[in-house]
């Protein structure tokens, strides 16, 4: 049995519509108008045991709505889903003992208390005995490197530190499956990497399956073996990450800043110049056609580099390419 089986899941929200201004408000008071928004449309997919599955898409694609239906927070308009054998919206409590959830925009740690107090409370909520809770906290403290953070009130932690504690808390009851909704939102590069490393370790050591929503392609590359890309509530792409990278994430962007003014011609075959200034340049190239080494050595020959950034194209661009491929 797959831990997640989703069949034709559909979710429609009724949204109140109102014209701008006071007159619109008055009209809406007397005769409210509603329209239907299809947040998720006939979604079907499976997830295997211990799999790291990325569920990505731009804002409003239906990622969070899907996760909320899979945790039993929302009832679907139609369709069916089984998570660890349970129908989430009918057997929410039973399912909650077996899964962990992290909503990047919804903290679960008590804001005014040290994270340790929430860990202890979670031990009671999940009915762990005190010794087991303590042992588990010790293990997670080491795995997530949060020893020095546990006694500090959560309000005094940085966002990255707080998120590490949040994700650690979701592992307290040894869940079989972890559902992460935008865990890296708003984090800097180092904080993102710390969280990705810890999740990967938990997946390897405890075999926890991870379903991760994100609109950060970095999360996908670093963590996931397989990816589902959704847009407007529908699956637009489903494949292994290695295939996605081979097909679509071949472009890299390089931005360089020099110590002094440079007047070099940056033209290289197969490289697109996105922006050029007196002290820097931004390029884009296809790694399948042009070697990274040759681009970097060409750039370093122009002057003393004080800063360099190599990044992937935005996910929206990848999705746009996936659409183009689909339309061909």
């Amino acid at each position: 049995m797959n831990p997640i089986e989703v069949n034709n899941l559909h979710k429609i929200f009724q949204t109140k519509r109102k014209a701008a201004g006071l007159a619109g408000s008055m009209r809406s008071l007397i005769k409210p108008e509603y329209s239907s928004t299809e947040a998720v449309r006939d979604l079907s997919f499976q997830m295997e045991a211990g799999e790291l599955l990325g569920f990505i898409g731009p804002n409003g694609a239906g990622k969070s709505t899907t996760i909320k239906m899979l945790t039993g927070i929302l009832h679907p308009s139609s369709g069916d889903a089984k998570v660890l054998g349970f129908t989430p919206w009918k057997e929410r409590q039973k399912l909650a003992y077996q899964i962990g959830t992290v909503f990047g925009q919804r903290p679960q740690l008590w804001y005014h208390l040290p994270a340790m107090d929430t860990f202890i409370l979670f031990g009671k909520i999940y009915e762990l005995d005190d010794r087991e809770t303590k042992k588990r906290i010790d293990y997670l403290t080491e795995a997530f490197e949060i020893k020095d953070l546990l006694d500090v009130p959560v309000r005094k932690l940085s966002l990255g530190q707080r998120m590490r504690c949040e994700v650690a808390a979701s592992f307290l009851h040894r869940p079989k499956l972890l559902l992460l909704d935008e865990p890296s939102i708003g984090l800097d590069v180092v904080a993102k990497q710390n969280i990705r490393d810890a999740i990967k370790r938990m997946n390897q050591e405890e075999g926890v399956g991870v379903l991760l929503t994100s609109h950060d392609a970095g999360d996908l590359e670093a963590l996931c073996k397989r990816v589902i890309i959704v847009n407007h509530g529908q699956i637009v792409y489903e494949d292994k990450v290695s295939n996605l990278k081979r097909k679509f994430l071949t472009n890299k962007m390089v931005e360089v800043r020099y110590a002094q003014e440079v007047a070099k011609d940056f033209s290289i075959a197969g490289v697109e110049i996105l922006k050029v200034g007196h002290y820097g340049v931004k390029l884009k190239f296809d790694t399948a056609k042009t070697q990274v080494d040759s681009v970097i050595s060409h750039l370093s020959s122009a002057g003393d580099i004080v800063d360099i950034t190599i990044s992937d194209p935005p996910l929206e661009e990848v999705i746009a390419r996936i659409y183009q491929e689909a339309n061909k």
Binding site: S64, Q93, P107, D117, T118, I125
Partner: protein, 260 residues
Amino acid sequence: MKEFKFLIAIWKTNLQSAMEYRGAFLTQTIGMMVNNFIYFAIWIIFFDRFKDVRGWGINDMYVTFGILASSFGLVSLLFGNAFMLSDIIAKGRLDYYLSLPRPVLLHTVASRTIASGMGDFTYGLISYVASGYFTWDGLARYILAMLLAATVFVSFLIFTQSLAFWLGMMSNFSNLVLNAMLTFGIYPITLFDGYAKLILFTIIPAALMGAIPAEFIRAFTWETLAQLLLGAIGFLALAIITFNIGLRRYESGSAIQTEV
């Protein structure tokens, strides 16, 4: 038993959270006691002038105000989120409680302590002791009546605030009903008869928070106990059923939340 252990853990965490700001906790507690005294002073002046309102004297007012304040305080201390439930529903903040393996309603309402409740709770007890009706078996009845009145009160709050599942933000309406409960709860019950009395037992069940518990504390009767028990069970059932039916309509939300 399982849920009781869970409640104790939540209340302990609430208390820890409230105690993080000791100064605020103490000033809110003391401030609320002073506030209650100032509010009650008008009744002292009133009964000093008129002595008796259809058989209802200042001592009866002390007991009535005492039970009203204590049960209000108890709900504030133990089920503080009951006052904010419509806001939690309308802003999609039930997600947190729905993702944990506990009864959603119980977990939600028990997850906040309003510190000023300690002031109400303590003032209520002092008011009863000062009423002249104090006896040890009266105190036992006071505790039972307080629990039942608090059940009626929290249930009524949950019921009105759960209407947010259908009608959206209900905090203003709920505040209106809350104020009506507190205002009519302190009025001498002897002032009302007929339909007015019926309203105070049903639509705005203020009588079950003030006058009836006060009667039960002064002297035990099976009739007042039955009224309190029926009221508590009836309103609790109404609250749970309304919330659970409404929960199916819950639409969550995408607002960024910064604290629990």
